[in-house]
Amino acid sequence: MQTSMKADLFEAPDYYHLDDLLSDEHKLVRSACREWVKREVSPVIEDFAQRAEFPEKLLGGLAEIGAFGPYIPEAYGGAGLDQISYGLIMQEIERGDSGIRSTASVQSSLVMYPIWKYGTEAQKKKYLPGLAEGKLMGCFGLTEPDHGSNPGGMTTTFRDMGDHLLLNGAKMWISNAPFADLAIVWAKNEEGRVYGLIAERGMEGFTTPETHNKWSLRASATGELIFDNVKVPKENLLPEKSGLGAPLGCLDSARYGIAWGAIGAAMDCYDTALRYARERIQFGKPIAATQLQQKKLAEMITEITKAQLLTWRLGVLRNEDRATSAQISMAKRNNVEMALRIAREARQVLGAMGITGEYSIMRHMMNLESVITYEGTHDIHLLITGADITGFGAFK
């Protein structure tokens, strides 16, 4: 494995002194994660991404720092932190790489969250501490080959066989699937009602083939979940919530984290481009002294600042349990597109250097192509806002 010797010089922009809106504890959470990313992620991530390999060796560190379930109560192994802390953790990890953030998002919001919110006390005790410690890794199976934006059409089903449940179907594009110990699988019962089930690796008929040749999230493992007459114990059903609202509740939590995460990727691209533009001399002066490059950089910091405000406010609303799904959609949609545009512009600021692995920009740019698609596509989030303000759903 190659380790990059290049120092990670990242300095976070805070143009509007938004740090004043954070508590000392928030800042400590952020600086701890930033330090961890600089020490553990930055030196190795490019090499893993180039080789399209998930850096499993980072799992121990992610668990140790507390990136798995930071807002889950301490009684279940979490840290019991607030939503802004969770957001800051996601921001800092995605500043390193969206793939690593994806692993942490999935584990926290899509695996621990449903067990915590929809599971029995026995399920919480059995799984949550191991998940927080990273001894158990999980994945979340909602998307199917024929049902992406329209998960309600899912064809994965389970039948009550008396002493167990019989699960059949296939899920696709599942982050962490290739190495996960357990999967939260969304499937319909005989009446067509959606429930979450905990499928465990090793159950007969359950396989997780890996999806290869991705140009995006290359340092994240993606795969399928295939269920061929899998016998799932009845105690593995999450009983406390059913219907599509159950998986969507998890997605709210994950999308909220992504809205913060995207700022991390954007800040890294901006910071890299700004430093490069000040140092790169063409026509006898730094390219940062030209109006065209200034336009790019000035627009980047403007957009980052707006996104920071949006997420901070959303975090306050979530802490007060007042944030709506539609509000979360707006932040996810805005921030991911903002980050993707900044990545594209920043890449150009670096000229040819921008296409190499010497700099993180192109990796972020390619990663963000997944981020703008998963957890609700850019289009779908717009339709959610549209439906929310007009009262007319325009999905169908």
Partner: protein, 248 residues
């Protein structure tokens, strides 16, 4: 064993330094503060004594309320409790006098301070503290072991190392080598949560007038422009060194 770690709250090494009030005051605007690196090595060594030998670890700072996040970070890393002596640190003697009172009140067996702080680089506090409290003192410590009431310390000396033994209570001026950079701990989320419940006691400063006062700070002269001379033009280089820089 009761350990006290003295923590100086200093600007991050990447901060841009400016002065205010006609160059008599350090301008803290926009500056990020961190645990003084020498103290962080000491704190990390103290955590080792806590985990391996059951020591209790208290951290102390002489400073205003703005230093509390730095103390909280030390608590999040694992220190058991913190003390802040509420006063602006005026000079080394003032700080050492305040710390002496904390040391006497707490009855510590081992006081770990840094060899020097990276802001004012006084390098005076640990020595003065030892002399005020009458404890043994070992400076520029790069290794420390404790067995019962005896300490074995390694010191850096010109061109080599020196190993010394001495009885507790002891004050050390520590530095890198006590632990390595890769041993430094990043607080984790559980630690940050637990730090919420740990005791941070604020005490008022004892009367101890400082003995020095700042007249003026100056920044180093800005670097001059760089001239690049290509390797095949050595004559030009010699000419520049001789006629322009006038160094040869």
């Amino acid at each position: 064993m009761k350990i006290l770690v003295c923590i100086s709250h200093v600007p991050d090494t990447t901060s841009k330094i400016n002065f205010a009030d006609s160059d008599t005051r350090f301008d803290t605007n926009g500056v990020q503060f961190v645990i003084n690196p020498n103290d962080e090595f000491g704190l990390t060594r103290a955590m080792w004594f806590k985990e391996k030998q059951g020591a209790s670890v208290t951290v102390v700072n002489v400073g205003g309320p703005e230093t509390e996040p730095t103390l909280r970070k030390a608590l999040a890393i694992g220190a058991d409790e913190a003390i802040r002596v509420n006063a602006q640190p005026e000079d080394g003697f003032f700080v050492a006098s305040q710390l002496a009172k904390v040391v006497e009140d707490g009855g510590y067996d081992l006081v770990i301070a840094g060899r020097e702080s990276i802001d004012y680089n006084g390098g005076m506090v640990p020595g003065m503290l030892a002399s005020l409290t009458g404890a043994n003192f070992i400076n520029t410590c790069i290794g420390l072991e404790i067995e019962g009431s005896e300490a074995t310390a390694t010191r850096e000396i010109d061109g080599g190392k020196e190993t010394v033994k001495c009885a507790l209570p002891l004050i050390i001026g520590g530095q890198k080598g006590l632990v390595e950079e890769s041993d430094l701990r990043i607080p984790n989320m559980r630690g940050i949560m637990m730090a919420r419940q740990k005791k941070l006691t604020v005490t008022e400063a004892a009367e101890a007038p400082g003995r020095t006062s700042v007249v003026k700070f100056e920044k180093p002269a800005p670097k001059g422009e760089v001239k690049l001379v290509s390797p095949d033009k050595l004559d030009e280089l010699i000419d520049l060194l001789h006629n322009e820089a006038k160094v040869i």
